[in-house]
Amino acid sequence: MNKFDQIIAAKLNSAEYTADEGMWTTVEHQLPLEQASGSSINASLYGGIAAAALLLLGFSSLPTLNNGAQEKVEISTIDEEKTNLDTEPNFEMNTIEIAADNEHLPQENHEIELVSLEAISKLKTPISNTSNSKKIEEKEQNINEGKDKKNISESFSGEADAIMLDFKATGIQCIAKTVHFESTELSYSLKWIIDGVHVFEGNSCDFSFNEPGEHEVVMLADINNENYSVKKSIEIFERPTPVISYSVASSETCFEQSIELSSQPGTNAYSWSLESEKANGSNVSIRATEGRHQVYLTAVSPEGCVTELVQEVFVEGGLKIFIPNSFTPDNDGQNDSWFANGLEKCASFSVQVYRASDQSLVYETNNFAPWNGNIKGTSEKAVRGEKFLYRIASTDNCGFKKKISGTITSL
């Protein structure tokens, strides 16, 4: 490495960039679920779904064809024995129609509707040690059964107006999601009992439910050495269990084939991805080349519960282009001209051929017109052993664009 290299390397190494949070959302969306039980799937998933709606895939533009015979461009050569004639397609302006039906999905700060089981109740005996959940449970049970409860209307006479005690819950009502319970009043010493077992202290608590169904939440307040409680129930929902079906619409005039994907029930929000392509909705169409592919599906129920699935799909057929790597322009009636077979099936295409030696343009066409070896703008003809470079830009009948380049040898 010389001094120039060292300076350039030092410069490049000192470049600083700040993290792109949008990229994290996209990356996160494509990762497997967390392994730990009870863990939550980050709310930014929804950001990922929204981000997918703006997905636009593209690649750099081709040089134009109309700059005349003397146009010189930087050409890349492909060793002829290694030339892959049917190159892996690139995407250009291939937009996916996205259904914008994810906006209504619950967010982490979504306020959950709780069912009030019992308004403010005054407990007869102060609870000094709430870590003893059994004791609390017994007292709660007594209260529920009316054994240990004061006449509430009696005990609250004169007090009810003074005591403001309530709580709310925010989050997503799904198993393994965190729900945040918080008192609406901050001036009391509070304790929480969830399902009669889990005890927390403080003005708020976070809890992840592992079972679907109704769950009981009690908030206890110590007010002037008297204990009061508020009891509510919260409903927790299961993850969705979608059923995927798919079909492949085969076409010989398109490079890629259309995979029609659908998932039931339609009430969920669905986000699909196949390699770099993404689409949202219960019925989507994703294009893919021939071969076996894995389609990832994220289903989000109306309650915000998430399930991820993988579906393997097999695609076959499609438009293929065969490009000879040599021809013999000697007018012997055999292989006298060069052309890429299959291009004629494209909706549009352009072909440029350059001399390898000086990279000058020697032939170009937008029509089915095989090259006979004549050098554009001159009376010259390709000589035996001369190498040329071709660059083809084609658009199939589905609007998919593909660029191919390689070498031709005149024999």
């Binding site: 290299d5 300076i7 490049l12 190494n13 993290a19 990356v27 750099s60 890349s76 892996e88 770099s276």
Partner: protein, 184 residues
Amino acid sequence: MQLVEGCIKQSRKAQKEVFSKLYGRLFSICMRYADDPDEAKDILQNGFIKVFKGIGNYKGDGSFEGWIKRIVVNTAIDNYRRKKVKPVITDSELTDRVGGMTAEEEVSESIYNQVPINVVTDAVQQLSPAYRTVFNLYVMEGHNHNEIAEMLDISVGTSKSNLSKARLNLRKILQPLVDRLSQH
């Protein structure tokens, strides 16, 4: 190691921490291999997905960051291969120049220290993918020409040629600015 364990468990918190911690360094690598920032982002995004999905392959040999960097560089090379862009025809004259530099040239090199970082990055991105990839693998990643030839499926001569042309083109691209800097 906690981060690694967290990533193995697919912990979003651990993954996010790795993402945030290494984004800057990894993105600068991708910028060197890409035509533009958008392509660099695509490479890095695919790299991160490969890292987090393939975390089970990390055996603890060498640093975790080094392992991630290798994956990102390999992703950039895969991206280059996908574009099917191959090196230009070898120019033997230029190949012969590789590594050769006079004392005068060495002294004048210091002017490049004054070139802003973003200008250098832009200049590298203006190189053809074939030149740029060889330049990165040789200068930035420290591979030799035999290794590069194998990695990119090209000849050693082509690797040398492309490195030489990459250097010359970089100089050409930076020349107007270097001239202005020299006058001051």
